[in-house]
Symmetry: C3
Subunit: 474 residues, 3 copies
């Protein structure tokens, strides 16, 4: 298996010798910018040899120790895989050296500054300039920062290209760097890949829009009911409430609705599966998209709950609250000097229950948020994760909804609550969570739950009798 | 080293060719459910070819791009390693195709819905059905979710099986997926492996029981002392205190005790090592188990401290607290109109010190909690981790204990404190932390510390003179 | 490629056989302490065979299942790579068995208890004792704890040694364990490597010193202005303010300054690049070091902001605050009985705006802190990370600075504010953030921004015309 000569070179035994080639492969990088340098460093650390191609080989700044630097032409000759770490605007020189690049694999790592800057993707343009080479688009989601700091383990990167051989070579190199590679097909996917790094929180867009919309709606709704009503009907200037009081009403409302929107698609999906009698039909598109942004919805709900908590904590230090308290005492003293100041036991119970439910709800909220941290969630088993996100999540929703109901416990039937015939904000916000909780309660009824479990294990209601239950899949 | 023909297939240099076989290995998956599909996707991304075996090859729903799908029999013939992603209830068809499976490696990934559903583990049952194949139980802790999202890097999985060769093949495949493999021995361990994914926070069970027990005890203790005593002896109805006031007494008490229980096993272990004069004797079982759940104890203590903090923050907005304040003013006005309202400087100092210690303690608590996040803790060096968890941890315990002592500074000697001859809760809760701190102070005395350091470096008191200090291990 | 005999051993196809040697490589570990045992466990799990060398092969405590244990001499003979997991003080025995170790690779994993314990690094000492072996220093940053818990994926380790072959063998083994290896050169770097694990938060040292310095300065400054001034000029004993009031002034001041210091180097670097007209000149050393500790500065700023928030939350429960409130009411009642208690709308607006800005600032602060968690930051794309840390960071700074300005909005022109002709603390603390915000505003002016973007893409102002814009690098 090994020639005797190589034994002297490798005194480390057969295993080492058989898995490593005697001389590590040489890779070439065009471009000595941040990305080029970081990539070269990482490649050297993974056991490759690296040669840089530069237009000024003798004055191109500090390069990783161990790398060589040559002119573009010489560098290209010494490797079969070339990383193009150069801006698209300067691809021109590659056309002039096309003969040197024939048969090589060119990895296009370039990104543009914004979407639609060029009609043709960078990689397609490169392939047109150098038709004899196999262009592979990919790794462009990696940042110089991540490369330098070795944050690559398990990161997913995308590849596309017309040559399967070329893609395999790049995928192998990427795997050696610790990356996970996903093949996106032929070079026609290059445009899509180049748009990836330009996306800004794509999965947050929908939940954020919902949150902003709800916030705006409830803010204006409460502005009319609280401030403008007071100004018009009672001629009071309570415009200062715009800053804190209104916020502390809008935030819990939006938080509770967002949290319930986070669990609504789950129950819709359950009812859909029950109705269809199978889990093998696809959900409608809107439901799929909704289910994919549940985590983001929950985190935004947590953010609003956090703001609600802080707004509540600073309440007693506010000028207007202290003023109200003092006025209360002064009034009490002037009008009611003889009787002892009355203590309302029911009020004390009601308010304290209200607080306890709010605190417990917030505590569970924070717990849910913590387990959605990648490093915490990743260390849970599947059953633990689903226990927390489903059981604990619904408990949180239940407690927070109860918190809302207790807030208005004695106001639901009072006429003065319905200013200008509009219900207060907290009543509106209780609708969705109540619906979700009722639907969820139906789903966990033993008889419904049993059918659902069977469906989720692969059982189908409309399956021909003889096939039924023959083989179901995990 | 390479035949010329293969050069034309691999224009990428010797290294690539030598580390990858010309044609990637084919793996077979029985079952096209969630798990089967996610596993296939991941295998394809890791460079394998994948063929699915399905009872309905032409209508089995969407499969990962690049995978083939065939009947079970044909699929089995094209691979030597077959993943069984089918529910145990449907293993029957495997028996009928036993001849096709002879000599194959069957990986049983199945899990049950609850413990003890079947007397025989799934993998043993499979081996009995197909005696000619080598059954390997394993990877069953992976979820479809983790597979789809590429969250495998470094994750530990377990294997067991009777054939060492079969296990090695599966281990190799798992390593290629980025997993870390732990061999649990022969197929008789299959039952244990099948119980793993059914466990719900096993390492949290003991700490949670302790926390629940302590909470229940102190809640009833304080209920009697605070509410029932007031009702019986003073005929006051202060039952509203059950909600918030009692909670805000019980939570800090339990938090402090849990925190001290988190550091108690460390000092016990130190004294045990000092007494025995060696680190090579095993600790008693109960101590080992206690030490393994210290992190969970600390996190539960942090949870209780968090609740205590929020309960404190909302205190001034409570009805009963505001009522008390107003009553105070009204009384002051009625009885004491002439003298200026007296400011007690000692009281101001005492209370502010109490708050400062509480805040600092909570701050350190949160810091400890943050460093126990896997991603933060993992980025610390060993010395940094031990600095934070040991030095900072004991400092936190010290500050929180001082916070408790200051709370009762002027009440320890007052007779009215001991209602019905029972000490108040905060006195009881100071016992364990005080003991831990005193023991820890003894351990860090220079003379004791020196001996302990030597023991922990491998020195043994009862070692024969000539052997002593010859070789000690890191 | 394979002999027929090996086929019978490997019924798993060609791919498996070609990537694994028929019999896994044997590695030797000297020392059966915690580190030795954890390392052996991990090596066994990665597919190696492991043999321990021990002075007492028959009584060396529990070793990982599957490992053999022999005398040092016998163990050394069966492997070409030997891990030395023994304290430096006991290296003596290695000298006596030097002939057995000739030609072997010795990996020195040892660490010392403190810096400068020995004039010569452990690895150099080992190489002197066994000149015939190739000593490689490395992996000494790994802890037994991390090895046992499999927390190795992607972790960076360092190697150094005089033999390139030996280093490659160790690097290969480390890569198989999931580690990322960084070669630090020849054995002369061993001292540096041995100092690594002894460092305690090296990158936190500078930010912590700045924070402690600022805290001390402002604490004494405010002590003089608030407490001593009151005592000297107004003969009031308000020393109780030392505990909470002063802290709640110092913490936000230091937090705001630290946050602005976190963004100051960025704008300095931008102006430097604009002035120089190129990005290829190195920044001065102090700027580089400053930029490297921005994350730590920001986290310390967050810590102080957290303390400020909690101090504010507990404010209304403080004795002195409640006393002041009661005094206010009592005074009001005595002197002002006839007029209704006056409500100052401007005051209500001002204070509520102050709170809202503070809360929003704190919320964004926490968001910034969360994205700096390794697991969260690692899951963001480069553009998302820079959006959060730059855009959101500067917004946070702006909001917190506005929070500071509103605090003193009506006090800037009041003479009584300048006690003993000194400005209050919050004025001093607004200087640095204001400067940073003004400079940042200049940098994002369209004309300046355009030039800066071109410079950062590689354009150079003083480049010869013909070369300019020819090739720029990513």
């Amino acid at each position: 298996m090994m020639k005797p000569e190589s034994v002297s070179l490798h005194p480390l035994g057969a295993a080492a010798a058989s898995s490593a080639a005697p001389v590590p492969e040489m890779l070439c990088i065009f471009g000595t910018g941040d990305l080029g340098r970081s990539l070269g460093l990482r490649l050297l650390q993974s056991g490759y040899r690296v040669v840089y191609g530069s237009r000024r080989p003798h004055s191109c700044g500090p390069l990783p120790q161990g790398a060589q630097v040559m002119s573009h032409e010489t560098a290209a000759q010494s490797a079969s895989l070339i990383f193009i770490c150069v801006h698209r605007e300067h691809y021109g020189f590659l056309e002039t050296m096309a003969p040197d690049l024939a048969g090589k694999v060119l990895v296009d790592l370039s990104n543009n500054l914004k979407k639609g800057m060029y009609p043709e993707p960078n990689a397609a343009y490169l392939q047109r300039l150098v038709p004899g080479a196999s262009v592979v688009k990919g790794l462009n989601t990696l940042s110089a920062w991540a490369l330098q700091n070795g944050l690559l383990a398990g990161k997913q990167v995308y590849l596309c290209g017309n040559s399967a051989e070329a893609k395999r070579a790049v995928a192998e190199m990427a795997t050696k760097l610790g990356l996970t590679v996903l093949d996106k097909g032929s070079l026609s996917a290059a445009g899509e890949l180049e748009d990836f790094p330009l996306q800004l929180f794509p999965e947050w867009r929908l939940p954020l829009s919902v949150a902003v919309g709800l916030t705006a709606f409830f803010y204006f709704y409460l502005l009319i009911r609280d401030v403008i009503y007071g100004y018009v009907e009672q001629d009071k200037d309570i415009s200062y409430r715009i800053m804190v009081s209104l916020g502390n009403k809008v935030f819990p409302i939006v938080s509770l609705i967002m949290l319930s929107l986070c669990y609504l698609p789950g129950v819709i999906a359950a009812f859909l599966q029950l109705y269809r009698g199978t889990k093998y039909s696809r959900f409608p598109d809107w439901l799929d998209r909704w289910m994919l942004c549940r985590k983001q919805m929950g985190l935004i709900a947590l953010g609003f709950a956090f703001l609600h908590a802080i707004y509540t904590f600073i309440t007693p230090t506010r000028y207007s609250v202290r003023h109200k308290l003092i006025t209360l005492v002064v009034d009490e003293m002037k009008n009611n000097k003889t009787t002892p100041f009355y203590f309302d036991n029911t009020e004390a119970w009601g308010q304290d229950s209200f607080y306890v439910l709010g605190i417990l709800g917030f505590f569970l909220y924070v717990l849910l948020g913590l387990t959605s941290l990648p490093s915490v969630g990743g260390s849970l088993s599947w059953r633990e994760f689903s226990f927390i996100q489903s059981k604990l999540g619904h408990l949180t929703l239940f407690i927070c909804t109860a918190h809302g109901y207790i807030y208005g416990w004695n106001k639901f039937l009072r006429l003065s609550t319905y200013k200008w015939y509009t219900p207060p904000g907290y009543m509106l916000c209780l609708i969705v969570p109540s619906v979700v909780l009722v639907l969820k309660a139906l789903v966990i009824l033993p008889c419904v739950d049993r059918t659902l479990t069977r469906i989720r294990q692969g059982w189908e209601r409309n399956q021909p009798r003889e096939e039924m239950g023959k083989v179901t899949n995990l």
